[in-house]
Symmetry: C2
Subunit: 456 residues, 2 copies
């Protein structure tokens, strides 16, 4: 039985074959100048007005630790494609480049370089696939989760997606990205262990069914977890379930404990939650929280709140964990400068902005007004602007004190308050935040376009 684990030793092989064949060819041709590549998203996905940067910590880990093990090199040799010179080079391969990035938890938009890598061409090339895999996924989830969290307003959102995420790594990275975007925790225990995210859980229908009746199942659980009981009340009938929960809550009070909550996972959540809230309040159990779950997403949460649903916590699974309404993010990684100077890619009308760049954000009265993509050496475009790209790695070493996940989460939530109201809308016409290009960068781009046309 072979599971197929990603490990620190084999992660260098998680790359498209062509990254390595191109690298071999560059090596043999003696082409290994310093280059700059930009990771960016050309267009916002459907249903997205903004994106949240996420995944940088995993990318920096990878860049600091990428090695080609003996086993990896043996495997590459067995393919009978690569030159021995190149395989020898890989033996001592290290990433020694410089990285600038928009920090995790920051909001970004289309065309903006989120990660900017300057390194020798072979180093910059080999890392492409892994960087895109990590960033495209985590940023997609953080961006989706941001919509869910913003729509839920003062209610809490918990990640319940582990069973539907795209494989094991996706489940722990979804917990991470959605926590950064403002979820209060995850049901995924491993994500709790690995990242220090609060883990949260209730009970399943099968638990309730494992006892002669619902009341007995509730009593047993409350006895075992006096501080941590959230009762699932919809296995048979929600109103009967609420009555049983009230009985147990009163029994707990007598023992000096408090029932933490009840969960409703099916039926008309708006109506049922109102009835259950009323029943609880009439018994002076206003401290018992109501958790709603069951195929939720930001659209359903908006409807529930409009209908006056009484929820304290939303458990959100599949729809957030696979970003169902936009299940891929098309980040790309493009050469923008090499020893010949700034470069643009022009195939099929897709323009890449050339050169080393900085993104400036203009904020007025606490609200984001516009972003301006400039060349690196341009002065700030306005006194209300601050730069988004931060130098995070030099000569292959992380040069910042990497923030804790709680700090990243706080930073992310603080950024929501700068978003224009239109950006937070989840329905209706697409809204475009103004992303501008400086005059200097525009002139350079136009000049390079003409040169390429001439060259052809």
């Amino acid at each position: 039985m072979n599971f197929g684990f990603l490990t620190p030793e084999n992660m260098a092989l998680l790359t498209d074959l062509y990254e390595l064949t191109m690298a071999d060819s560059y090596y043999r041709a003696g082409i290994n100048d310093f280059t700059t590549f930009d990771l960016f998203v050309r267009e916002l996905p459907e249903n997205r007005n903004f994106l949240v940067s996420c995944g940088l910590e995993q990318i920096l880990y990878y860049l600091e630790n990428i090695r080609f093990s003996k086993d990896a090199i043996e495997y590459l040799r067995s393919l009978k494609i690569f030159s021995e010179e190149f395989l020898g080079y890989l033996k001592d391969f290290r990433f020694g480049g410089e990285v600038w990035a928009i920090p995790e938890g920051e909001i970004y938009f289309n065309q903006e370089p989120v990660i900017r890598v300057t390194a020798r061409r072979i180093e910059a090339q080999i890392i492409e696939t892994f960087l895109l895999n990590i960033f495209n996924f985590q940023s997609m989830i953080a961006s989706k989760s941001a919509r869910v969290v913003l729509t839920a307003k003062d209610k809490s959102v918990v990640d319940f997606s582990a069973r539907r995420d795209h494989s094991t790594d996706a489940s722990i990275k979804t917990a991470r990205a959605s926590f950064i975007a403002g979820c209060v925790g995850t049901s995924n225990v491993l994500a709790g262990r690995l990242y220090g995210i609060p883990v949260i859980g209730t009970m399943a229908h099968s638990y309730v069914m494992s006892f002669p009746n619902e009341l007995e199942s509730f009593r047993t659980f409350a006895e075992h977890f006096p501080e941590n009981t959230v009762l699932l009340i919809d296995t048979y009938d929600v109103i009967e379930g609420a009555k049983n929960a009230i009985i147990v809550a009163k029994e707990m009070e007598k023992r000096g404990y408090r029932l933490r909550g009840v969960r409703i996972d099916s039926g008309d959540l708006a109506e049922l939650s109102k009835k259950v809230r009323k029943m609880l309040d009439e018994e002076n159990l206003n401290y018992v929280r109501i958790v709603l779950s069951g195929d939720l997403n930001e659209y359903k949460i908006e409807e529930l709140l409009e209908k006056g649903a009484k929820a304290d916590v939303f458990g959100v699974g599949t729809e957030m964990g696979v970003s169902k309404d936009a299940p891929s993010l098309g980040g790309v990684y493009k050469l923008v400068e090499d020893k010949g100077g700034p470069k643009i890619k022009l195939s099929t009308g897709k323009i890449t902005l050339p050169g080393k760049k900085q993104v400036w954000r203009v904020v007025k009265d606490g609200i984001m007004i516009e972003d301006i993509i400039c060349l690196e050496d341009e002065p700030p475009p306005s006194k209300d602007a601050y730069p988004l790209l931060v130098k995070v790695m030099d000569r292959g070493k992380v040069i910042i004190d990497y923030p804790s996940i709680s700090k990243i989460r706080e930073f992310c939530i603080s950024n929501y308050s700068k978003l224009p109201e239109e950006a937070k809308k989840i329905r209706g016409e697409k809204w475009d935040y103004p992303v501008k290009v400086s005059n200097k960068l525009r002139r350079m781009t136009e000049k390079l376009e003409k040169m390429i046309h001439y060259h052809q």
Copy 2:
């Protein structure tokens, strides 16, 4: 910098918290009878007429190797939720159950138990999240890939999805699942290393742009990889690119080599491929294959073939790797029997078929006619029927010689020939394959429904 790897030592923690709290409660309540759980899909996802079983090998690896390490138990203790008795129990936890499964590469439908677990309740409960995570993902990808492969007919399909898959594990498991479903290989080198899948690659636009002109880039690559050159001809202009490829192909012939192919990644792929095929054939380069890529899926491949596109290979990325038109599979895992006998779940009108079951497939003239879900002890429903569920694990040990991935792939492809033509259609109205329930099983289900209603 913390990446967060899944390892054999920590994989037991990849579970929803409630699996462990319920298990603790069962343990303390002395509820640990033998139970049977079915993993099944209630309804086929949108745009799917059939599903392909996939992921069993990873599930069996997990079941054979799941352990709670000292570190895992320390972490659980730190949560201050669990009883010391239960943490002590976890120290020696092993999965010792029996597993029946529909083999990987077999076709299955809604309501059919694909994996049937019989084990002590706590063991059967703890494994739920992991089993669902693995199976839902790999089966979703195999089912999507099957559509792509069937639509491509005699043309080859290659997995190019690594940069857009949902994290690292998804990328290697996508390569695995899509290969099983009939792809000829993947660009993902790690998947090649881990599973023995053929790895395939061409070159990127950035490579072509790294040379003074296209011809020089082609020449250099062909010189370095005389046996493995596929030239990307759309960086500047496809027709000019084809001319340059022909020059290089002729030069290779003189050196005793053959250009393997050209790739077109943008533009009107149908028209361009026809023109390029003609240009190549006129130069007696009929052996040079044409690879098409660029946001392909089964719908676009069907259109391309209808328009007479000249393709030998389709490189398919994002759309297959995230199963874009149906990005989640809703497999569930439900209790169907315990010491009290067969069980059904009845919340919100979702019926679960009770008891230990077998699925029989009736095949006539080589075509699948219907499936019949029976109780385990029923005789075959017809002489043309064969059982789909196979016993694969006993007392926690795998009891079959697990097939190689090539064998699983052959088996999968052989199953396509049994599919009714309607099932292979990718557009149009939803088509339902007949999945029946035996009279005996139906009567048992009805009886249990009545009992539950009475019980309430």
